[in-house]
Every structure is written in C-alpha cells, then in structure tokens.
C-alpha cells in the first residue's frame, strides 16, 4: 500500500500506482495522473475513461479487444491515445484496478 497526492487529496494506491478505491477519483485527478505518464488529456481520452469506468462499475472484464468493439474507439485509436500499453495506462488514469484479463 502507498499514498499518492492528487489535487491536494491523499489517495491510497497499490505498489504499481493503481487506485484502491475507484470512487475517490475525479476528472481533475485524471489530468494529474496523465501528466505523470506524460499525457495531455483530450475529450476523446475522457470518453474512453468514462467507458472504462462504466464497464468496471458494472463488474465487467476490461480487454483491449473489448474496447475495440465498444464503438467509442478502435484499437489503433486506443493505442494512439495511450501509447505503449493502452489498457494499463488508461486504467491507471481512470482510477480503476489494473485489468485482470492477463492471467
């Protein structure tokens, strides 16, 4: 367990920096987490983040292929927004756990 400070609020995160409680997340925090990953968030980024949070809150599994089929964005576009490791980066910025699809 560790603590991180975003927008002046102390947040509990795991060793890899993922939020332990997704409900404390705000859009303003997302902007700061994105900065740590050297990303500037656009409206399209937020559309993706909202999609991920909605799916996560519904208890559904998150996968890159699933995002590609969501209608929000295709896989190429997802990589364009969150280069390198889009699911891991997007989940971190969205304040949700690292997706468990990789088991």
């Amino acid at each position: 367990m560790a603590q991180k400070n975003y927008t002046g609020i102390s947040v509990e995160v795991n060793e890899e920096g993922y939020f332990l409680d997704s409900t404390v997340w705000t859009k303003e925090m997302a902007v700061e987490i994105a900065k740590e990953l050297e990303l500037e968030l656009t409206d399209l980024h937020f559309e993706v983040l909202n999609y991920l949070r909605t799916r996560f809150n519904a208890g559904e599994a998150l996968t890159i292929r699933g995002v590609g089929k969501s209608g929000v964005i295709d896989i190429k576009g997802f990589y364009g927004l969150f280069p390198g490791a889009p699911m891991k980066k997007a989940a971190k910025i969205a304040g949700i756990p690292k997706p468990a699809s990789c088991i």
């Binding site: 559904e60 890159i64 190429k76 699809s101 990789c102 088991i103």
Partner: protein, 410 residues
C-alpha cells in the same frame, strides 16, 4: 425424472458426469452429456508433439472410455441454449430439456480474428500447437528446418494454459541445442504482457530463465496483423518482428454455442460468479472450465479443483440450500524447462505464485518456481493421472483449496 444436461465432454464435462452419476439416484435424475467429438484429446500433450516426444496416439482416447454407465451420451453438434425455456437446441433440430445445465464447452482458437494469419504461409511457415493438426504439421516442419528466426507470438490474453508458450520456447532451446543447430536459431518470445508471465514474481523468475537460455523477450506487443509477403508480424503501435517460422497462439474465444445463445461477453466467455461457479444471469446454469470468464488460468488443474466446488454447489441448488462451497481460483501448473527439468507454480485469485515446496511443506517432492528434475517427472506423471484419476472424478492427494504452508511469502 429430473434432468441434468452437460454441454461438452472435455475435461470439465467428463469429470462432472462421473461425480454426479455417483451421487445422484438413477431413479430420480437423468444425466445427459453432449459433444460433437468422439475423441478425447489430452491437450497438455500437444506441447510435446512438435518436438517428436509424443505422437498423436499418445494424446487420444475414445471419450466413451471415460463416461460412466448410466449417463446418456450424445455425439452431435450443439446449436444453442434457450435459457428462458430451459432447453438446448441441436444443429440437427433435436431439443433437450433440463432442470440444471452445466456449460463445459471450453475455448477455441480463432486465427481468423487476426488479418493475414490464415494467409499463404499458414501451415507452411506459420503454425499453432494448440490443435492436434497444428502440432503435427509443426513436427513435420521442424524435421527439416534449417534455422532462422523462430518467433513465438501470443496474439491476446486470455489463452489456455498461459505457461504452455513459455514451455514451448524452452523446449525449442533444448531441441535445437541437442541437434547441434542452436546457433542457427534465434528464439523470440513476443507477448502482449509486460513480461514472461502474468503474475509479477513468477514473471521475474521465469523471465530470468528465458534470458539464461538466450531467448529474446519482446513485451507489450499487441498483434494487429501478419504480413505474409515480408514475413513479419506487426503490432497496433506499428512495431514489426520478422520471422522465418512463426508459432502463433491465436486469439481465444468461447464456443460458438455461447455466442449463438447470447450468453457470453465480448469474447464469448460466460459471465460466471467466480466463487459459486453459477452463471450470473441464470439460477439453474453452472459453468466449469475454460468456458467461463472467472479470473484464473484456463487450465486442466483449475477445472479439476473447481469440480469439487461445483459438485458441492449443485447439490446445494438441488436441495434448495445456500451454497456451501466457494472456489479460490486455485491453479497448479508444471512448467517444462527443457533438458529433463521442470518448474512448478501454484496460485489462486489472491496469492501470486511463490517459491517453496509442494504439496508437503519443507519436503516437496516438488520445488515451486525452481528448475528440478522432479518437476519434469511431475509433468510426465500428470498424463497418467489425467486419464486414470482426474477425468474419472476420483479423489487426489492434493487439496482443492490452495495451501500457504511451505511457501516463502517474503
């Protein structure tokens, strides 16, 4: 008569048929199992075929040998499940009604999901070893191959037995060394994960093992397409890896039965309660094995451990009691590392694989997360256990629940 219907007579369906036929009165319960294949494949054996260690006859037996007397067996293709009507429709139009349904239709590889995969090089320079035909074609190819870039690529997760690709590259290292041509073969392990395995500590230890064996890991590579003309694979972020021989672990999906029934997620896996193993949507549908979406490995050992839980909970459901068994996600995999040695990992939903001893604390005989000869024998003995004990649903001297004793936590 009340009816239990089991879809799929693979590992999970066969185990459940055996367990339930023993416990349920024949005069009260009719049990039916359906599969379109008459042959039972010992899938873990597919790994050994490309290297000439097993042939087809070592991994097949008739399904009927494992289905107990008193179970109706139907060999035909399932079309779909009509969950609201408690019935299953077959391709030939037959209908089967049920009181309880067990879905055990497994997972399948879908190479056509990746553009170019089934192009002109398919089964010429591109092979899979997750099917019997793929494994045999690859064995033939390796007999005369002169060497070059051997690229193993995992297209996406989840896959069956996530350690099988690691074992494959370590076997390849040993195989080409023994033939005196290791210097002519460059082995690349190209994965969508950030390292060799899904769980951090095992990933580090297994990653070191690959490095020692001079196997090049290319992580975070998410496959977009195969370029047949230029013999390379291309990722969504435009990275390229050239190959002379591509071993693909294609995208996995659940059975087409699930998509036709509208019971699956994006990848046709059935949303299932990870503790009780009951379908999220339907009270009288249970799911075992690779067909479910529970967050643990898609492996025979998981099927075996979860069968105990499912068995108990089906009895609870039948007798109208709350569920008393809860699955912990226990998975236990022998990992072949080549040259007659192997490693072993043991983990569940909450605890990642740890070093130590198994199954008896401090004694073993199997060493966790380290290369030993004993672990290799464990894997070879597993085939005998699979045919003679596991499929028949008999007791094993291993607890279904994972044990922390004997493990190094720090």
């Amino acid at each position: 008569m009340k009816k239990i219907l089991i879809l799929g007579a693979g590992t999970g369906g066969t185990i459940m048929a055996n367990k339930l036929r023993k416990s349920l009165e024949r005069t009260e319960w009719e049990i039916t199992i359906i599969d379109f294949e008459k042959t039972h494949y010992y899938q873990p054996g597919f790994l050994f075929i490309p290297f000439g260690m097993y042939t087809k006859k070592d991994v097949i037996k008739p399904k009927m040998d494992f289905i107990p007397v008193g179970v109706n067996t139907v060999f035909a293709e399932i079309d779909s499940i009509a969950a609201e009507e408690n019935s299953v429709k077959m391709k030939n139009g037959d209908i089967y009604k049920y009181d309880y349904l067990i879905i055990a239709t497994g997972t399948r590889i879908v190479p056509e999901e990746t553009p170019g995969m089934l192009g002109e090089l398919w089964q010429k320079k591109i092979f899979d070893f997750y099917t019997i035909d793929g494994a045999i074609a690859l064995a033939d190819f390796f007999k005369t191959w002169k060497g070059g870039d051997l690229v193993l690529n995992i297209a996406d997760m989840p896959i069956k037995c996530p350690v099988a690709p690691l074992e494959f590259v370590m076997f390849a290292d040993a195989f080409f060394s023994e033939r005196g041509m290791r210097d002519k073969v460059n082995i690349h392990y190209v994965t969508p994960m950030s390292g060799a395995f899904t769980k951090p500590r095992a990933s580090k230890i297994l990653g070191n093992l690959l490095e020692e064996k001079n196997i090049n890991i290319i992580p975070d590579f998410y496959l977009e397409r195969v370029d047949n003309e230029n013999q390379k694979i291309v990722s969504y972020d435009e990275r390229e890896v050239p190959f002379d021989c591509l071993i693909t672990i294609p995208v996995h999906k659940g059975s087409e039965v699930i998509s036709r029934s509208g019971l699956g997620d994006d990848m046709d896996f059935v949303p299932t309660d990870k503790f009780s193993l009951r379908s999220h949507k339907h009270e009288n549908i249970f799911v075992i094995g690779d067909a479910s979406n529970i967050p643990t490995s898609k492996a025979g050992s998981v099927v075996h451990f979860s069968a105990d839980v499912l068995f108990e909970n089906i009895h609870c459901a039948i007798e109208n009691r709350p569920f008393t068994a809860s699955f912990d996600g226990h998975s236990n995999c022998y990992i072949e590392t080549g040259h007659g040695k192997g490693a072993l990992i043991d983990f569940n939903y909450d605890t990642e694989p740890l070093p130590g001893h198994f199954p008896f604390p401090g004694i073993g005989p199997f060493g966790l997360l380290k290369e030993t000869r004993m672990n290799h024998y464990g894997k070879l003995i597993f085939r005998w256990i699979y045919w003679h004990i596991l499929l028949k649903g008999k007791e094993m001297p291993i607890n279904s629940k994972m044990d922390l004793a004997g493990k190094k936590l720090a």
